[in-house]
Amino acid sequence: MGRSEERTYRSYILRKWLIIAAMLLALAAVSFLSLLAGSSSLTFADIFHSLTGQGSREQGIIIWNIRMPRIAAAIAVGAALSLSGCIMQCVLHNPLASSSTLGVSQGASFGAALALISIGAGTTAAPWLVTASAFAGGIATTIAMLVLSRLRISTPSSMILAGVAISSMFSGATTLIQYSADDTMVASIVYWTFGNLGRASWSEIAMIASASLLSFSFFMLNRWNYNAIGSGRHTAKSLGVNTGFLIPMSLALCALMTSVAVAFTGCISFIGLIAPHAVRKLVGNDFRFLIPGSAIAGAILLLASDIACRTAAAPIVLPVGALTSFIGAPIFLCLILRERRKA
């Protein structure tokens, strides 16, 4: 084989990296758009002056204390949810898998709600307490899913049905614990279940970002292993992949990212399902590109949804979780139909 074929493959790989770079540019553009959007109208020049430290104090507060944390939260949460969906779809061999469709988000929500109501965490205690409780709920659901996926009867659709059952169970449990809470706490829990990016503080965003970065590094280190798992579990084992460690560890990290995101921003559904599928259309199923691509696409999708929520009925800010569910559910149905056709 000559050098021309090698160049062809190299240019094929380069094209994929260029797509990732273009997505990064798109993320930067959407982030800037998000800085401009909001009830207080700021111009391009205002933002430039504030970013370079020359703007007014009021503008500085709007940008650094309100809009910037919101953008950072959208990027961190969007990336976390999308990454977890991307990896869950791979290791469970289920294109319909994501933290929201398998009930992991709902499990984490229940854990977080339990912490908020029973011990008043989040208002008085350290945020890590809410996170730890959310993680316990998320990981319990993940273990249940892992056990179900090992059963021979499990098909992608039956796993999703199991996810629906688990979600209903956790929703019921969350309702029950709300029943014992006072009015103020119930209102805050209900508001929180909508999913809202404006609530997270810088320290909480740092926690979400740390969980995402840690998981992202692990996933990138194992990108070849995920490619092998995508070719079938037996093939992966025959290529030397330690599936006995990698699959549970990957799912635990997915549960961690989801739980941290849910603990601080509430339930935001379908980002983890839609974003990886969209990226697959662009870069294929190669995890060298799919992992970074999914993280960026999740961030773009959540940020764009948030802009829509802030501008559609301004000055009222709509809950972003409601919008992602509204857009995500029809796409989810399309994916189910596609799976049925394949079967």
Binding site: M1, E5, E6, T8, Y9, Y12, H93, L221, W224, N225, N227, A228, G230, S231, G232, H234, T235, K237, S238, L239, G240, V241, N242, R280, G284, N285, D286
Partner: protein, 257 residues
């Protein structure tokens, strides 16, 4: 060279493999034959530790693999499953995956060179950037074999590689396997259902029944008795133009004309 020594495997209480022993030298092709449920595929997956055997040992060039890491086993034994699931990968990436046991952080120049060499040998260059799901069954099977060859294994295990192929592609695939075995000195263990392909392309045949090995012989030593014992059907061996063929004699198991 491979030595499989007293391999047994159970699913819970059910014994699937019992005391399987066989050995084969470099460049040799061994067909593993037997009826459905005889334990052929289980044996293949126990050999490279995809399934953990309950007892027994596998030695490659005298080296026991039971204590080895998965990566080290994958450098010695390659495996081609019945069906590929790598639908959305390009052919080049799919073949490159065979270098997985050698890749640390990133692929090296050498990995690409080996893939190119194998693609050239198998005539796959023109397909390299096509997606796997765009290929025909025969082409997909070739890619799977190419992926196994870039592992540079001492032993190649194949699980019914011809089962979904038309006669032309069956011959092409088996010729490819024979070429790899003879040119690179790879020991090949291949599960087959087609007795005539086995007679034509294999050096030795290992017959199984109910999880046990019932006969291990040279391909030219196979007789009707062995086929009867393994498959429960009467068969004759006929020689046409110097080649031996199995002709199944059983007319109708249920007694109808």
């Amino acid at each position: 060279m491979i030595s499989v020594e007293n391999i047994s495997f159970s699913y819970g209480q059910k014994r699937i493999l019992e005391d399987i022993t066989l050995s084969a030298g470099s460049g040799e092709i061994v067909g593993i034959l037997g009826n459905n449920g005889a334990g052929k595929s289980t044996l293949i997956t126990c050999i490279n530790r995809i399934r953990e055997p309950s007892s027994g040992e596998v030695l490659i060039n005298g080296q026991a693999i039971s204590g080895m890491k998965g990566r080290d086993i994958a450098r010695l034994i390659a495996y081609v499953p019945q069906r590929s699931e790598a639908e959305a990968l390009s052919v080049f990436d799919c073949i490159l995956l065979g270098r997985k046991p050698y890749i640390r952080w990133n692929i090296a120049e050498e990995d690409i060179n080996i893939c190119e060499r194998v693609m050239h040998k198998l005539g796959l260059e023109h397909l390299q950037l096509r997606n796997m799901d765009e290929l025909s069954g025969g082409e997909q099977q070739k890619v799977m074999i190419a992926r196994a060859l870039v592992q540079e294994p001492a032993v190649l295990l194949l699980d019914e590689p011809t089962s979904s192929l038309d006669p032309r592609n069956q011959i092409e695939t088996m010729s490819l396997i024979r070429k790899a075995a003879k040119e690179d000195g790879i020991t090949v263990l291949i599960v087959l259902h087609d007795l005539n392909l086995a007679l034509r392309f294999c050096d030795r045949l290992f017959f199984m029944k109910d999880g046990r090995g019932i006969r291990y012989c040279r391909a030219d030593e196979v007789d009707g008795g062995t086929i009867r014992a393994s498959y429960g059907v009467d068969a004759d061996i006929a020689t046409i133009n110097g080649e031996r063929f199995v002709m199944i004699r059983q007319e109708d198991i249920y007694g109808h004309e």
